[in-house]
Each structure stands twice: as C-alpha cells, then as structure tokens.
C-alpha cells in the first residue's frame, strides 16, 4: 500500500488550480519526487525582492545537497502573502514551508512553518551586509540561511556555508560547497596540500620554491601570506589543530617526520614523530586535538598510524593482512572523532575507505573509477574526494549515509587535494 503510494507519488506531476493569494497560480505544475529514504518534505515558496528567484534556487539546492530533506517547490509564481493554506501544503506532503523574502534593509528574512502544527516554527534574518546581489558575500549569507533552516527542520545544521579548497594544475583554488563562486586563492607559484584553519580565515599550504618547499599560512581576509619557520628540505602537508594554535606538517631530507609549530609565530618547530628515515606525512588531528593520524612508511609501505599529539604512543591503525602491502594515504579524521577516511590501493585502483578508530573495522566508500584524497565536511556525513569517474580528475561529494554523489567541480585541468572548510561563521 505504502509502496504503491510512493510509486504513484514518484510519477505524479500535479497540476493544481490555485487561485487565492495563499495558493499557487493556475496552471502551475508541481513536481514531487519521493525517494526510498524517509525524509521530511520541505516546500520552498517563491521569494520576493531583488534576486528572489536566485535566493529560492539556492535555498532549494542547499537543502537538497544536505541530503536530509526532500525539497518541494513550485516552478513559478508570486510569493505567497497572508496566511498560508496549510492543508494544501500537507496534501503536497510538505511537513515544513520555507517562506523567505529579501528585505529593503538588506537582509534575508526567513520564516519556517510547521505544516502539521499549522504555525510558524522559526524565523530569522540573515544580513547581506553591503554585498551586492549574487556576489560571494551575498551567496554566503543565503547559504547560512539554508544551514539554519536545515537545523530548524531536522535538528542538524547544514554545511552549505562552507568552502572547499583544492589544487588545480598546481595552483590553489576555492569553491563554495554548491560548486559556485570558483576563485583562486591568490597564491602565486606552485602550491599544494591546502588546509583550513578552524576559523576559516586562514589557509595553510605547501609552496614550492627554488630552495625547496615551504609551509605558508595565508590570511584570506587580506591576502597576506606568512612563511612558517621550517626544517629545510621538504616541507609538506600542513594541518591545523582543532583549536588553531598549532600547525603540524611533514618535513625532512632523508625521510620525513611531523613537526609542530605555532602558525602565528613563536617557538621553533618541535618534532612529533620519529620515523628514523622513513617517510611520514599527511597529519590530521582528532577533533579533541589529543591525537594525530598520519601516513608512515616505517613498515616498508605507507599505512595510517595514530600517535598522541605529544609524539608518544604511535601505533598502526590500518593493519594490512599478512603479506599484503597496499598503498594507503591521505587520512582525514572525521569531525565526530569516530573514524578516519583514507585512500587505499584496491587492485589497480585507489578507493576511499573509512576505518572505525575504536574497533578498526574498515568500510569502502567508493568503487567506481579511481577515487582518492577524502576530506570530511563539518557535518561528519559528507566527504569530498578526487575521482576520475567523469573521465578527468574532478572533485565529487559523497553522502556517506545514502551513497548519493554529486560532482562539485568541472572544467579543464587536473583537480585534487580537496580540503573542506569549517562553517563560515562571519559574514
């Protein structure tokens, strides 16, 4: 019965005759898509004010990309005014209605209605500041509104107001979580391994120069870069501690080890690992900052290890079966602290895997084409990674709960080494 109803709903393109101000205009076609996962239906109404259509499109897309609600919306029509016809929206399987408007004062006013309770669930205003419509700042304000709407409706904040830094053709780029607003990070020369500061204000990266590679930290608000005192030789794969007070990176000549330093000046780098000539790289902090996962070849092939942040108690995390010597790299500790995503050689290809830190169980997240360099979103649910499934190396986003994927970047050039930012709190 339920299945048949769902199947019917999948195919339903409902033409409604809607006349009053609290209904939709005559002739509007409404598409409703049900999926197998039980999700809350959220109807996003038309948005009035400057760039209202863009606001509605962004809100709908952000909520859809969050993978927690099913977005319902009319294709066209004026924004509703007056009291809403809750019965109508209930018939459309909406549990919540998002009613937004751009105010003359330069903010986005959002009201979310509870269809079942027939009342306003929550309201909020999201300032655009002085940002022009469709500019980067304006878009981020809309993304913040989307994240709050998702929190009001589902209890979990979204990750629309985030950005992803990556390397394309050996230069640093940054793109919004929805794939829009692509721009360079403004770093000259060859740059690799971007890593976000927990505030989202700074970006650390490795830069190649004539005298070797160095670690630098760029202030994205003013474009100023600062070179970190390093160890000479190769300095790569920086990572900030969760409190932002420490930067750990890989450095060395004959083999590499991890070193910790203050990203804003102070002490000289302090050694964290003792690889004794083996390559050690790609640090990633646990969310509590007490442990670091990293890659080391001390067993003869690269595996993921865990150490206390003070350099003691190093132990193997990804133990390979006896006789097997796979290539493992690019660990990224999940925001909930429970698992570490990493790249693993599986036959002739690379795949993204995740290992439970406690019981060491490994789960394969990808299997289509070559996939590598995973980076967790702040929600601990989505992962951005590099994949060749579209033919060239591009960034893709995976919902680890539903398995749904979407392509984040397009265009020419090899795209890799993605780093998902924290939530961008400040306008």
């Amino acid at each position: 019965m339920i299945r048949s109803a769902r199947a019917l709903a999948v195919l339903s393109l409902v033409a409604l005759r809607l006349g009053a101000q609290d209904t939709l205009p005559t002739g509007v076609r409404i598409g409703i898509t049900y999926d197998q996962v039980s999700r809350i239906g959220v109807f996003v109404t038309a948005v009035g004010g400057p760039a209202g259509d863009s606001v509605r499109a962004m809100l709908s897309r952000d909520l859809d990309f969050g993978d927690r609600v099913t977005v319902l919306s009319a294709e066209a029509g004026p924004p509703p005014s007056g009291s809403l016809n809750y019965d109508l929206y209930a018939r459309l399987s909406a549990r919540a209605i998002v009613q937004a408007s751009v105010t003359p004062q330069g903010s986005l006013h959002v009201a979310v209605h509870d269809v079942v309770a027939r009342r306003v669930m929550n309201v909020g205003d999201f300032a655009f500041g002085n940002a022009a419509p469709l500019s980067a700042g304006w878009r981020m304000a809309v993304h913040r509104a989307s994240d709050e709407i998702e929190r009001w409706v589902t209890g979990t904040r979204g990750v629309a107001a985030t950005r992803i830094a990556f390397v394309r053709d050996q230069r640093l780029w940054i793109v919004d979580s929805d794939g829009a607003n692509l721009q360079t990070a403004g770093v000259g020369g060859v740059a690799l391994s971007p890593a976000w500061h927990p505030t989202g204000r700074y970006l650390a990266y490795a830069q190649m120069a004539d005298d070797g590679t160095h670690i630098a930290v760029r202030d994205l608000t003013n474009g100023q870069s600062r070179r970190i005192p390093d160890q000479g030789g190769t300095n790569i794969t920086p990572a900030f501690s969760p409190d932002g007070s420490t930067l750990v990176f890989s450095a060395g000549d004959d083999g590499t080890d991890l070193f910790a330093v203050s990203p804003f000046g102070g002490d000289a780098p302090r050694r964290v690992t003792v690889g004794r000539g083996s390559p050690t790289s790609s640090p990633t902090f646990s969310p509590d900052g007490r442990k670091i996962a990293f890659i080391s070849g001390r067993l003869g092939h690269p595996e993921v290890y865990i150490t206390d942040a003070d350099g003691t108690n190093a132990e193997l995390l990804t133990a390979a079966p006896s006789g097997d010597q796979p290539y493992r790299s690019s660990p990224d500790w999940s925001p909930d602290g429970r698992s570490v995503a990493f790249t693993s050689q599986e036959g002739a290809n690379l795949q993204v895997m995740v290992i439970n830190v406690r019981d060491r169980r490994i789960r394969q997240l990808t299997g289509d084409a070559r996939n590598e360099d995973p980076s967790w979103a702040p929600d601990g649910r989505h992962v951005v990674f590099t994949s060749t499934r579209s033919g060239a190396k591009q960034l893709w986003v995976l919902d680890t709960e539903s398995g749904r994927t979407r392509q984040l970047t397009r265009g020419a050039g090899t795209t890799r080494m993605a780093a998902w930012s924290p939530r961008m709190e400040q306008p």
């Binding site: 070193f259 050694r271 964290v272 003070d310 350099g311």
Partner: protein, 277 residues
C-alpha cells in the same frame, strides 16, 4: 385421708376471702400512694434511660469521630509510608543506575574475561602460553593461573588488550582495573611495565594529572630498563612544561637524553629541549 386434708385447706381460704371484702378507705389511700410512688419511680427510671441513651449516642458519635480521625491518620500515615517507600525506591533506582553506570564498564571487562575463560576452558588443555603471541615469552608470568572455578585466567596480553580497549572507549576506571589485574596476576610479566605505563595513561586520560605523574614516575623507577621508562619521563616533562615549570621540565628532558639517548623519546625530547632553551 385425702378428703380430710382438702377440708383443712378450704377453711382458712374462706376466712381470708371474707376478710378482704372488708378493706378500709385508709387501706385504699395507702395503696394509691404506693402506686403513685411506683409510677414516679418508673418515670424517673425512664428519664434516666433517655439521658443514658443520649449519652451513649454521644459516646458512640464521639467514638465514630475518633475512629474517623484514626482512619484518616492511618490513611495519611499509609500515604506517607507509601511516599517514603516510593522515594526510597526512587533513590534505590537512582543508586542502581549510578552503580550500573559506574560498574558497566567493569562488567564489560568481566564479561569479556568470562568469554575468554569460557573459550579457554572449551579448548582442550589450552596452556596459558597459547594466548601469548608466538615469539613473546611470558617471562616469570604466572601461567596456568586459574579462577576459583578452575577455568584458566586471561593471559597478560588479553588483559592488556582489554585495558587498551576500555581506554579507547574512555572507560578509564575499567581500563585501570584490567591493567591492575595484569600487574596483580602477572607481576613479573614482561608486560608489567607496559601495564604500569597504561595505568598512568588512564589517569592522564581522566584528567588526573597528579596521579598520572606519580605513576609515570613509578614506571621510570620500577622499570628503568623498559622501553616505557623514557616515554614516562618525557610525559612528566611535558606535564611540567604545560604547568609552566620549565626548569624542572628541562631537567627531566635532559634525563631522557642522558639515560636513553637511542630511544624515540630522546629524539622528541631533544626537540622539545631546544624549544625550551
């Protein structure tokens, strides 16, 4: 003879009957007075009965009121007792919950131990060494240690793994219990220094810095030849650095370099020492 006896009785009866027919007016007055007296007495008795009845009714009512009061008091007392009982039950439940929470981890350890013991008892004459990885001797351990039920006790490696597992879950007390069991049952095992070290780590994980420092110190003093000794000293130095006691931290770091120059701890200690100078 009978006839004569009847005649003798009839004679006085005739005399008496004849005498009664001759009662005087005075006799009648006396009789009336007596009747009046008797009637007054009867009336007084009746009045007295009424008063007693009223008094009795009042007494019964009073007794009824007292009975009601007693019933109410009893009911109140019962409710109070019930409330107290419920409160006590609630307190007991909360205590049980607390005990359950605090003992949960320990129970898990016990359950795991039980499983291990069960498996060990299922195995045909499994020696204690069978649970120790090959190539790792159980020097001085107490193999064949047995539970009171006769099942083989978990080996030192099992206890160490149990403790590490609990520590990974954040159950520091349960972890410490497992490490302590190891030390108690296998005091001369080569894992004893490791176990002592992880007791210190469990304190550190729980935020008990003072206790952790004392156990780290014990590791270095009791097992100076173990791999964990330099790490334990390094950990103490780190704690001193965090506490701002830089000079004492430097002393300990130098101690690591002097006593254990080839250890991993010496490498990181040298780096930290340069940082502190």
């Amino acid at each position: 003879m009978t006839t004569r006896f009847v005649r003798l009785l009839i004679a006085p009866a005739v005399v008496l009957t004849a005498g009664a027919c001759f009662a005087t007016r005075g006799d009648v007055r006396v009789l009336q007075s007596d009747i009046g007296t008797l009637q007054a007495a009867a009336a007084r008795a009746a009045r007295a009965d009424t008063q007693q009845s009223v008094q009795l009714r009042q007494i019964v009512q009073a007794l009824g009121a007292v009975s009601d009061s007693l019933r109410i008091a009893t009911s109140t007392l019962q409710r109070f007792q019930g409330d107290v009982s419920m409160s006590m039950h609630g307190v007991e439940q909360q205590l049980l919950t607390i005990q359950e929470l605090t003992g949960q981890s320990r129970k898990q350890v016990d359950a795991l131990r039980a499983q291990i013991e069960a498996r060990a008892s299922d195995a045909p004459a499994a020696p204690a060494a069978a649970v120790v990885p090959s190539g790792v001797p159980t020097t001085g351990a107490a193999p064949a240690a047995a539970t009171p039920q006769g099942a083989p006790a978990p080996g030192p490696y099992q206890l160490l793994e149990l403790g590490r597992g609990q520590l990974a879950k954040g159950a520091t007390s349960a972890a410490r219990a497992a490490f302590s069991d190891l030390l108690a049952q296998y005091p001369t095992s080569e894992l004893a220094p490791e176990s002592q070290y992880w007791i210190a780590e469990s304190f550190a994980s729980a935020g008990s810095a003072v206790e952790a420092d004392s156990v780290y110190a014990l590791v270095a003093e009791k097992y100076p030849a173990s791999d964990r000794a330099p790490t334990a000293i390094y950990k103490r130095a780190l704690a001193l650095k965090v506490a701002g006691q830089t000079r004492q931290a430097r002393v300990l770091l130098q101690q690591v370099l002097d006593k254990y120059p080839k250890s991993d701890a010496a490498v990181v200690a040298a780096s930290l020492l340069r940082d502190l100078k």
